[in-house]
C-alpha cells in the first residue's frame, strides 16, 4: 500500500470531515434540546449558500435576486457576502422555530417529521426553480489555488482543509463558551436537560429553543458556504452531506457534541477511504457505507459512542 497516497487521501478526507462535523453538530444541537431531527437542516444550509451566491453574482441573467447586489452597488466581496448569508440563515432558522416548530411543541414526532420534510421538499424545489438545478460555481471560502498547500511527508494538506478545521474548532470553542458562560447558554443547557423544570425555574423555554435553532442554522450555513466551492452549488448539494452528517451524529450519539465531532471525522475518513480501496463502492455509492453504519449503530448501540443511553419507561 502506498503510504503517501494513503496520507494524501486522509488529508483530503479531513476537509469533508470538518463539513460533516459542523452539520452533525447542528443536528445534535436541535436533537439535544428538542428530541427531533431536523431533516431540513441541509436544505436550509444550501439556501443560505445560494443567498451568498446571489450576493456575489450580481445581476446576471438567470440569477434570480441578483438585482439585490446591483441595488447595493456592486457584487459584495466573498467574506462579506458569506457573512451576510450566514446571518440571514441564522435569522431564518430562528424564524422557522418560532413560526413552525413552537406551535407544535407538544405534538407527536410525526408532526415534526412532516414539517421538516415539508420544508425540505419546498426549499429544494424553490431553489431548483429560482436558481436552476444545474451546478453553480461558488467562490472559494479559503485560498485554494493549486499552490495553496503545505507538504507533510510528501502529501499535501490544502489550506482549505486547515481553514475548515480552524473555523470548526473556533465555532466549537465559541459554542462551549456560549453554553458555559452566558445566561442564555445556561438556560439552553437547562432546557436540554429538562424543559419542565427549566420552565418552572422561570426560563422561557420557547425563546431558548429558538436560540438553539438559530445556532444550528448558523452552523449549517457555515458548513454549506465552506463546501459550496468544492462540491459545486446545486439544490441537492447538501442531501448526501446530510446523510453523512446524520451518520456522523448517530455514530457519535445523537445528543453528544463531542460525538458529532468524532463521528464527523470517522465518516469523512471512511467516505474517502472505503471507495478508494473497495472497487464496487465508487465515489457515488460512498453514501452506502455511511447508511449501513448508521443502521448498525442504531441497532446495536442506539446511544452511539458518546450519547446518553435512552431508557424507556414502560
Amino acid at each position: 500500500m502506498d503510504v503517501v497516497l494513503l496520507l494524501q487521501r486522509i488529508f483530503d478526507a479531513l476537509f469533508n470531515s470538518a463539513i460533516y462535523s459542523s452539520l452533525a453538530l447542528a443536528l445534535v444541537i436541535i436533537f439535544r434540546s428538542t428530541g427531533l431531527l431536523n431533516f431540513a437542516q441541509g436544505e436550509m444550509a444550501t439556501f443560505s449558500a445560494y443567498i451568498a451566491f446571489v450576493l456575489l453574482a450580481g445581476a446576471a441573467p438567470g440569477v434570480k435576486g441578483g438585482g439585490l447586489a446591483a441595488w447595493i452597488g456592486a457584487p459584495l466581496v466573498t467574506p462579506v457576502a458569506i457573512g451576510l448569508a450566514v446571518i440571514i440563515g441564522i435569522g431564518a432558522g430562528a424564524a422557522t422555530e418560532r413560526v413552525l416548530i413552537r406551535p407544535l411543541r407538544n405534538a407527536p414526532e410525526l408532526a415534526m417529521v412532516n414539517v421538516t420534510i415539508g420544508i425540505l421538499l419546498a426549499l429544494n424545489s424553490l431553489m431548483g426553480q429560482w436558481w436552476g438545478t444545474g451546478p453553480r460555481i461558488f467562490p472559494p471560502f479559503f485560498p485554494s489555488s493549486p499552490g495553496d498547500h503545505i507538504d507533510i511527508a510528501g502529501a499535501r494538506i490544502r489550506y482549505s482543509t486547515i481553514g475548515a478545521w480552524l473555523v470548526l474548532l473556533a465555532l466549537l470553542l465559541l459554542l462551549a463558551l456560549l453554553l458555559r458562560y452566558t445566561r442564555a447558554g445556561l438556560a439552553f443547557r437547562a432546557v436540554s436537560i429538562d424543559p419542565v423544570s427549566a420552565a418552572l425555574n422561570g426560563i422561557r423555554v420557547g425563546p431558548t429553543l429558538m436560540y438553539g435553532w438559530a445556532l444550528a442554522a448558523g452552523l449549517g450555513a457555515i458548513a454549506a458556504n465552506m463546501s459550496a466551492n468544492s462540491v459545486l452549488l446545486e439544490p441537492t448539494m447538501m442531501v448526501r452531506v446530510l446523510v453523512y452528517a446524520f451518520a456522523a451524529a448517530t455514530l457519535g450519539g445523537l445528543d453528544s457534541p463531542k460525538g458529532a465531532l468524532v463521528g464527523g471525522v470517522v465518516v469523512g475518513l471512511s467516505q474517502t477511504l472505503i471507495p478508494a480501496y473497495v472497487p464496487f463502492i465508487g465515489f457515488e455509492l460512498s453514501v452506502l457505507p455511511a447508511l449501513v453504519a448508521m443502521v448498525v449503530v442504531l441497532i446495536v448501540r442506539p446511544a452511539g459512542l458518546f450519547g446518553t443511553q435512552r431508557i424507556e419507561r414502560v
Binding site: 428530541g35 415539508g118 426549499l123 442504531l298
Partner: protein, 453 residues
C-alpha cells in the same frame, strides 16, 4: 424530551373542524375528557358508543376504513380486539370501556352505519364512479394512459399508508419499493420470459421481500430514527441501482420488450389497447385494495395497529412484535412494488432516474395529505395531488404578472406544493383531508405518540 410531562398528546377524533384557539385546531392536543359528538367520553364511562371513548392507557381507537366495518372492528382499541381471543379482556383498569366495546360491537353496527353516511360521501363515491366510467370513454390514448398511471399510484401511496398509518413506522423511502417492483417485473417478463400475470406478482413479491429486509432493522429502530434510515435508503437508492445494471438497466434505464396486448376480440386499436390496460390496472388496484382492507381488519391488521399504538402493550397481549413489524413492512412494500410492476405495463420503460429521493418524499406527503390510517385517505390523497397538479399547470401557464407570475409558476412544481401542503396540513388538518369527510376517520399525525408517554 418534552413528552414526559407536557400533557400527553392524545389523538382525539372529532373536532378538527373547530375554528378558534390554536389548541383546538390541533386536535391532537386536546385533553381526552372532552366530549365528542355529544357522547360521553371520559375514561371509566362505558358508553354505548365505543369509539367515542379514548382509553388513555392503551390503544387509540380509530377507524379502519369502511363505515360498515369500522364500528365492529376497526374502532376498537387494538388491544381489545386481541383480548377477545383470550377470554375476558385483560386490560388496564383505567380502561373499562374496552369490555363494553367487545360486547356492544355487534349491536352497534347498524346504528353507526345509518348515521355515518353523509351526503358528501355519497357525492364523492358517485363522482369517483362516474369518473372511472366516463374517463376512458372521453380520453385520448395518452390521457388514458396518464390517468391509469394516476390510479396505479394509489397503491404506492397505500403502501406508505400501511407502513406509516397502520404500522406506525414512518417510511420516507417507498419510492424505492416502487422502483424495485418495476425492475423485478421487467426482469421477470423480459429476461425470464414469464407471462405478465406472473411477472407482476413477482414484482410485488420481490418488493415485499426487500421490504421485509428493510423491516428487519425496524425491529429495533423506531419513530424518528426509522424515518431517518428510510430517508437514507431513498437517497442511496439511485447510485445503488446504477451499480446493478443487469437488474435495473444501470444509468440508462431498462426498456421493457414484452407488451401486454389485448385478445383480438377486444379490438386492436391503440385506444382499445389502452382501455384493456386501464381495465386490468383498475382490477388489480381494486383487488389489492380489497385485500389490504381485509388484512387491515383481520388479526394481523389489528396486531399491526396495536403495535403502532403501544408495542409493549401489544407484546403483553401476545402479539409477536417481530412478525408483526416484518409483515407490515412486507405488505406495504409489496403494495408499492405492485404499483411499480403495473407501471411498466403502461410505459414499457423504467429507470432509476424516475425515482429520486424527492419522489419518495412526495409519495409520503401524498399519503399524509390524504389521511393516514384510512384506505380511502390514500385515494383522496392521489386525487388531491392530481387536482393540485392541474391547478398548478393552469396557473403556471399564466404569464406577464411579474412577481405574482413567478409565484404562480412555483405552484406548478409538485414538490414545492407538496412541501408547503405538508407543513400547512400539520397545522390545519392534522388527520389529513379524509378528516373532512368523516370526523373520526384518519389518523391524527401521531402513530408514535404513545412512545413518548
Amino acid at each position: 424530551m418534552s413528552g414526559d410531562d407536557w400533557p400527553t398528546p392524545m389523538p382525539r377524533p372529532g373536532d378538527d373542524d373547530d375554528a378558534g384557539a390554536e389548541a383546538s385546531v390541533f386536535a391532537v392536543f386536546a385533553p381526552p375528557e372532552t366530549e365528542i359528538h355529544g357522547a360521553p367520553a371520559g375514561a371509566g364511562d362505558p358508553g354505548p358508543e365505543p369509539e367515542a371513548d379514548e382509553p388513555a392507557a392503551t390503544a387509540t381507537p380509530r377507524d379502519a376504513d369502511d363505515p360498515v366495518e369500522t364500528g365492529a372492528l376497526g374502532a376498537q382499541p387494538a388491544a381489545a380486539g386481541l383480548s377477545v381471543r383470550n377470554g375476558p379482556p385483560v386490560t388496564p383498569t383505567a380502561n373499562p370501556p374496552v369490555g363494553g366495546v367487545v360486547d356492544a360491537g355487534g349491536a352497534d353496527r347498524g346504528v353507526r352505519h345509518r348515521r355515518r353516511i353523509s351526503p358528501l360521501r355519497w357525492a364523492s363515491a358517485a363522482l369517483l364512479g362516474v369518473w372511472l366510467v366516463a374517463m376512458p370513454l372521453t380520453s385520448s390514448v395518452t390521457e388514458l394512459r396518464q390517468n391509469t398511471q394516476i390510479i396505479v399510484m394509489v397503491l404506492a401511496v397505500l403502501g406508505v399508508n400501511v407502513a406509516t398509518g397502520y404500522g406506525g413506522m414512518i417510511s420516507l423511502g417507498h419510492g424505492v419499493f416502487v422502483a424495485v417492483g418495476a425492475f423485478a417485473a421487467a426482469y421477470a417478463v423480459d429476461d425470464l420470459a414469464l407471462p405478465w400475470a406472473v411477472s407482476i406478482l413477482a414484482g410485488a413479491a420481490f418488493a415485499g421481500l426487500v421490504g421485509a429486509l428493510v423491516g428487519l432493522p425496524a425491529l429495533r429502530i423506531k419513530g424518528i430514527h426509522l424515518a431517518l434510515v428510510t430517508l437514507g435508503l431513498a437517497i442511496v437508492f439511485q447510485p445503488l441501482a446504477k451499480r446493478v445494471p443487469a437488474f435495473s438497466g444501470g444509468v440508462s434505464g431498462r426498456a421493457v420488450g414484452a407488451e401486454l396486448v389485448p385478445p383480438s376480440w377486444f379490438g386492436t386499436t391503440r385506444w382499445a389497447e389502452g382501455l384493456y390496460r386501464y381495465l386490468i390496472c383498475l382490477a388489480v388496484v381494486g383487488l389489492a385494495m380489497w385485500v389490504t382492507y381485509n388484512v387491515i381488519n383481520s388479526r394481523p391488521g389489528r396486531a399491526m395497529r396495536a403495535v403502532r399504538d403501544n408495542d409493549t402493550a401489544a407484546a403483553v397481549h401476545g402479539v409477536n412484535l417481530v412478525a408483526s413489524r416484518v409483515n407490515t413492512f412486507a405488505v406495504s412494500a409489496s403494495l408499492a412494488g405492485l404499483a411499480g410492476a403495473l407501471g411498466i405495463i403502461l410505459v414499457p420503460f423504467t429507470s432509476q432516474e424516475s425515482f429520486p429521493f424527492q419522489e419518495s418524499l412526495v409519495l409520503y406527503a401524498t399519503a399524509v395529505l390524504g389521511g393516514l390510517g384510512s384506505l380511502w385517505g390514500s385515494v383522496l390523497g392521489v386525487a388531491i395531488r392530481e387536482v393540485f397538479s392541474r391547478i398548478g399547470e393552469l396557473l403556471g401557464g399564466v404569464s406577464g404578472l411579474g412577481p405574482l407570475g413567478e409565484f404562480l409558476r412555483l405552484l406548478d412544481e409538485e414538490q414545492f406544493v407538496f412541501g408547503m401542503l405538508l407543513v400547512a396540513l400539520t397545522f390545519v388538518f392534522p388527520r389529513g383531508l379524509i378528516g373532512l369527510f368523516n370526523r373520526r376517520r384518519g389518523l391524527p399525525v401521531s402513530p408514535s405518540s404513545q412512545d413518548r408517554t
